[in-house]
Symmetry: C2
Subunit: 158 residues, 2 copies
């Protein structure tokens, strides 16, 4: 079970944008800031826009900013924007297969294995949904947001 490597990119980019005053930051600025490849980062930012985490504007002064206040974006929103909302466990109804097959009429409810695995996935989701981007930023020592603003803000953070 693996999350895509770009999950980390999305978390860092969103957390960085939350440290700015809302001015847009371009893909190439973010790529340079984190040492990431532009074309593939652009795809990940597009996933974040599609999921309603970021909003993007085009043009010479365009770029990405948070689509919502940082208090309303959770880590789960970011992770699911990249990896989707699927359950990592899939019940393929083995109970209805082979010599031990249970009749279909007795399989109208989800099986206990799928239910158990689903509950664990929901516990994982709840844990990530409980942490907002604002809270992540709040854990950083104050010099980090100052530095992020200095490096990423087109006005130099002034």
């Amino acid at each position: 079970m693996k999350l895509p490597e770009s999950t980390e990119w999305a978390l860092h980019c969103t957390t960085a944008l939350a440290q700015l005053g809302g001015e847009p930051v371009s893909t190439s600025q973010l790529a340079e800031h984190f040492g990431l490849p532009v074309p593939y980062l652009a795809k990940q930012l597009a996933h974040l826009v599609k999921a309603g985490v970021l909003s993007g504007t085009t043009g010479p002064r365009g770029g990405f900013r948070l689509a919502l206040p940082a208090t309303r974006i959770t880590v789960l929103d970011i992770v699911e924007a990249i990896d989707g909302r699927g359950d990592p466990y899939q019940c393929r109804e083995i109970r209805q297969q082979g010599r031990g097959a249970v009749p279909a009429a007795d399989c109208l409810e989800p099986c206990v294995l799928a239910t158990t695995m689903r509950a664990a996935h929901e516990a994982w989701r709840a844990s990530l949904a409980a942490v907002t981007v604002a809270e992540l930023v709040g854990t950083l020592p104050p010099e980090i947001p100052q530095r992020t603003r200095r490096l990423l803000s087109r006005g130099g953070g002034e």
Copy 2:
């Protein structure tokens, strides 16, 4: 994020063995019972033996049985026997990369993103560790274990 399809096989096989009185069941019996391919199922059963969930004996009357009482085997034990114990999220220290790189001396502690993702993985693990194989069997209607014994026990469950 996906768990291997064989996770389901391992869960069904272990739960079936927990319904028997401890007599060994062969790979081909289990494969036939669940309609699964013998060679690949054999590999998964070997993972379960290695993880201490099942024990295997060889010879004409040999096969697999639980290595521990069903009250002491959790769903997490089975899932991690197949998929390993790795965290699906990996922190690749992006904070130390690119123009925005934070000095290594300020990165001695795990970052807040890795800590947050780790906590969610531990919530998932705790949820699966809270359910034993005995509890799974306990949710089945009584005719299912009777049927499993009749079909899988070499004595026909008598």
